[in-house]
């Protein structure tokens, strides 16, 4: 074995939320992502394409021509951004966190290094949000290919997707730290993910729903994202500032809840 030659840095007291710790955890995700990015990217492009063909072209050719003056394919295409975000953030964070904790013992390894639960959860959320923020833009690009006119406001879509995905990745991590068995995710999906996805205003406008559902939709982060993306494509309104603030608050709350739940799960 070689003798130690490298000069170790002088020990210093480590602070909370150190950038090096967060970057280190994210570098692990990047290294793993390099091994499976092709499949993920393929499905992220194909899924919105299939949805657009099925709903956008299929329904617009037979049942719906326009919604609120917007061609139906563009209405669905902009809404699909939210679908891409929830499916590329909530689900990977739920299953990924559970598998890394329960089956791969990854978190035991990371927490044996100078990384704490707050940094671990923050890094996991940031990585998923970065990925989801990127993939969330794909439906918009596909819709542009189907005829949607590009607009400057669309440049904010990655930011909207990132913040929403941050919230949903926090939600997923918190769920993964709460359930006892992986099959309990079926309840989470049925009770939360699917309803949020269906009443986000992706496929039909919220104002056609009963009043109680319209009120409920206002606390659905996906609905707020849909409205923001459509704002970027067709023109913002003053309420969009509140919508964005709501998404930031959603991300902040799920971040703290995820840290709390993971701390309970990982630290005996």
């Amino acid at each position: 074995m070689e003798a130690a030659t490298q000069t170790a840095p002088a020990p210093r007291k480590l602070r909370r939320l150190e950038r090096a710790a967060i970057a280190g955890v994210m570098s692990r995700e990047v290294a793993n992502f390099r091994t499976y990015w092709k499949g993920t990217t393929f499905s992220s492009v194909m899924e919105p394409l299939v949805y657009l063909l099925a709903f956008g072209l299929g329904l617009s050719a037979t049942l719906v021509d326009e919604v609120n003056g917007v061609p139906y394919i563009e209405f669905v295409g902009t809404g699909m951004v939210a679908t891409a975000v929830i499916f590329s953030s909530a689900l990977p964070s739920m299953f990924g966190t559970f598998v890394k904790h329960r089956f791969q013992n990854t978190y035991d390894a990371i927490l044996a290094a100078p990384v704490d639960v707050e940094e671990l959860v923050s890094a996991e959320m940031l990585w998923i949000a970065t990925r989801s923020g990127t993939y969330g833009c794909v439906p918009l690009l596909v819709t542009i290919a189907f005829g949607l006119d590009p607009a400057w406001g669309m440049l904010l879509t990655p930011l909207f997707c990132f913040v929403t995905a941050l919230g949903f990745s926090g939600f997923g991590v918190a769920m993964a730290a709460t359930v006892a068995k992986i099959d309990q995710f079926n309840y989470v999906t049925a009770l939360f993910v699917t309803p949020l996805f269906l009443v986000a205003g992706t496929f039909f406008p919220i104002d056609g729903l009963p009043e109680w559902a319209q009120v409920a939709a206002q606390v659905n982060p996906l609905h707020q994202l849909v409205e923001l993306v459509r704002g970027g494509a067709f023109g913002f309104e003053w309420q969009d500032t509140l919508r964005f603030a709501f998404l930031v608050a959603f991300a902040a709350i799920t971040w703290r809840v995820a840290i709390h739940q993971m701390h309970k799960r990982l630290i005996d």
Binding site: S27, T35, Y36, N105, A112, A113
Partner: protein, 295 residues
Amino acid sequence: MAAIELRDVVKTFGPITAVDGLDLEVPEGICLGLLGPNGAGKSTTMRLLTGQAIADSGRLRVLGYELPAEAKTARGQMGVVPQLDNLDVDVTVEDNLAIFARLYRVPDVGAAIEKALAIARLQERRHDAVDELSGGMRRRLLLARGLVHEPRLVLLDEPTVGLDPQIRTELWTLIGELKARGTTILMSTHYIEEAERLADEVAVMHEGKIISRGRPVELITEHAGRQTAEVYGPPDRLAEARAEAEAQGLSVRPAGPAIAIVGSERADGLVPDDAVVRAASLEDVFVLLTGEEAD
């Protein structure tokens, strides 16, 4: 300064007391073997030392840092080699090391990887995914990953559990080299031979406490004397031999199909002629103190 100081540490999980008033001091530069049967509290002690478990009471200091408050800073200067393989299997050998070099804030990641690859003797396999490595290579990589930042203190949690003898010997060589560098090592194990070969001192842990501690030879002399006589035969004969030995105040323990009369040099004409007399061992001490069969 001691590398590890635990004072009256208690850790419970519901009704189970995993660590029960543990006192443990590990001076810098030695290899201490924490020897105990399954469930003795060894792994919980390791988790307490990394801050992955929080003690109910007691005082913990590692490398001069108070735990759990300064656990993160302490972890920066210690390396942990876990019992379970938790490498990233789809990622290359080199990337596995790079990730941990970054987590440990190593200033020159490239140089650290080269040294770790040399330790693991995996330079030729650096670009291979971990999935493609043999079991022995994976274990060597796991050890090298824990050393990538040249820690002052290394925690080895059952480093060779479940490995075949050849891989175990390979690991022992690497741990021996680490010892020779003067790194402080705390190694939990339930393998007697491992503790005997590698540890400068052995602490026998049972039901959450250290029940005896010393250099292996001291422990043997103190608890088992010089000789052990193994008596073979039918159950009636073994029962008779046991009763006679115990009547003379000698310790007797089961040893597979035989009984072992520990400290048989003090047995006044008791040892049958056909008994196998051998030098007393750490295994005798372990079984006498814990009442558990040794691996």
